[in-house]
């Protein structure tokens, strides 16, 4: 027998409507800073749901506008003052304590590595702008734009987590002389993060495979090659000496050389894979317990980095195949990729085993390349919440009248 409440059709409809409006509220609430949402988001959502009334499925435009306005006003109110922000962004000046939570949000943001790069590299861009050809000279600096864009995008993928960790330690950790409050983020030993072998090798296999395939296409189709002739005491040099000249020539017989290099790399990689399989079979059982480690899959930044690398490789191949540049770089990169690819695929197959769920990619790399198990990971330096009142003398405390000028020196 149907009863009123969550079990009845009306109750189910209300539950569904509430889920829909909560989704709508959470969308508009993104206008608030991340730290604010974490601290008070649930409370705000519940108030908005109450205000919307029972059965409401979407937020009305007035309430949505009110949330967006409130969120941006909060961001504006908590934003550092312009000169503080400029010094932080452009010369990485340490953020004052009042803006630490703002800095933490900034550092944890997805685009932080790029913001930091743009902020720090501005003198280079300024010099480039000053030295660029004057307007009307007819030259369009397309190559410069492409190079700058490449550097800016690349900045997102060059050790983003390491950059974030260093920035957190610099800008967010309390300084000497401050009172550590329970729950505040303080510098200390934290578990070392490692990428799981399965996730890491899957994405490494993708980037190696894409690079190898692109290099083979370039070797088969590229029309131009750069030939360099070295000369020693040549008669046309007008005297004794050493020199060389380079000419761009059709591929001709050099195509066989390029393809052969890649095939040999693949063959050597295959032999290496056999050795990798043997090493993994012998040493995986001997690996050590890792008490100071946490495993995580490849981050969103890492995956985006793999896709970006693959796109760069496709672009490079297109430049070589279309004859805009001579073949060369893709063969170098392809050789490296094809040397590593078979071993990576073999290691990926090993991670499918039931007892390999706690393997880090670094364990596999260490065993495959060195033939011995990885030593125990040491904890990393990072930020962690202060678990309780700080023990006397471990962290700085406010000076008492009887203290010497610099108490609490560890």
């Amino acid at each position: 027998m149907p009863t009123a409440g969550a079990e009845s059709p009306a109750g189910n409809a209300d539950t569904l409507a509430e889920a829909q409006i909560v989704e709508s509220i959470e969308f508009w609430m993104r206008a608030y800073p991340r730290r604010w949402r974490e601290a008070r988001g649930q409370e705000l959502v519940d108030v908005v749901v109450d205000l919307a009334g029972p059965g409401a499925q979407r937020l009305d435009p007035r309430s949505a506008f009110d949330l967006v306005r409130g969120g941006w006003a909060t961001r504006w109110r908590e934003h550092p003052l312009p000169h503080t922000w400029l010094l932080y962004r452009m010369v990485d000046r340490r953020m004052p304590a009042a803006y630490r939570s703002w800095a933490l949000d900034d550092i944890d943001g997805f685009w932080y590595p790029m913001r930091r790069f743009l902020g720090n590299a501005w003198p280079v861009f300024l010099i480039g702008l000053i030295m660029s050809p004057p307007r009307g000279s007819g030259e369009i600096p397309v190559t410069s734009f492409v190079m700058v864009a490449f550097m800016v995008v690349s900045s997102m993928f060059i050790r983003p987590e390491g950059i974030r960790n260093e920035a957190r330690l610099k800008h967010v950790a309390p300084r000497f002389g401050e009172l550590p409050v329970e729950g505040a983020l303080v510098a200390g030993d934290v578990p070392r993060q490692r990428v799981t072998a399965r996730s890491g090798l899957t994405w490494a296999g993708l980037v190696l495979g894409a690079t190898g395939a692109a290099s083979v296409v370039a070797a088969i189709l590229a029309p131009k090659v750069l030939l360099t002739n070295f000369k020693l005491n040549s008669p046309d040099m007008g005297g004794p000496g050493f020199g060389w000249d380079s000419v761009v020539a059709p591929m001709g017989g050099h195509r066989v050389v390029a393809v052969s290099i890649l095939l040999v790399a693949l063959g050597v990689g295959g032999l290496g894979a056999v050795a990798v399989r043997r090493r993994l079979g012998r040493l995986l059982g001997e690996r050590l317990d890792q008490p100071y480690r946490v495993l995580r899959p490849v981050t969103a930044s890492g995956k985006a980095g793999v896709l970006f690398s693959a796109m760069v490789m496709v672009g490079l191949t297109w430049l070589e195949v279309s004859g805009h540049i001579v073949i060369g770089l893709s063969v170098v990169l392809g050789t490296v990729a094809l040397l590593l690819l078979p071993g990576a695929l073999v290691a990926l197959l090993v991670t499918r085993r039931a007892d390999a769920h706690d393997l880090a990619g670094r364990d596999m790399w260490w065993i495959a390349t060195r033939g011995r198990v990885l030593r125990i990971d040491q904890p990393a330096r990072g930020l962690r919440p202060q678990p309780g009142p700080a023990p006397e003398g471990v962290l700085a405390h406010p000076p008492a009248p009887t203290d010497s000028p610099h108490p609490a020196t560890p």
Binding site: L44, D46, V47, S63, L67
Partner: protein
């Protein structure tokens, strides 16, 4: 901190008793005779600013029907601020009556 009309109404609603967010909106609607319906974004902006100014503070929370209710109350500074603002408004009303009374007297003469 300058107290706006909306801020004054929020302080006034908390003068009676601690209230949660939804309760404040209802009390403000009643106090303003239906003229001021606070949106959640506006309310939490006011609570943030008045919290930073030390006029209000959180006084506990509970979960009712699966909803988080965080209660807010006036601090001593908040109570003093609402009393002072009320006195200012009373003085303003007095002056307004005087001005309007003079005008009515002129109109009748």
């Amino acid at each position: 901190m300058r107290i706006t009309e909306q801020g004054y109404l929020v302080l006034l609603s908390l003068a009676e008793q601690p209230r949660h967010g939804y309760g404040i909106v209802g009390a403000v609607l009643e106090l303003s005779d239906g003229a001021t319906k606070l949106g959640a974004g506006t309310l939490y902006g006011l609570l943030d600013r008045m919290g930073e100014a030390g006029l209000v503070e959180a006084s506990g929370e509970e979960v009712v029907d699966g909803r988080l209710r965080r209660y807010y109350r006036l601090t001593a500074e908040g109570s003093a601020a609402v009393v002072m603002e009320t006195a200012r408004l009373r003085a303003l009303t007095h002056r307004a009556r005087t001005v309007l009374g003079t005008r009515v007297a002129f109109a009748n003469s």
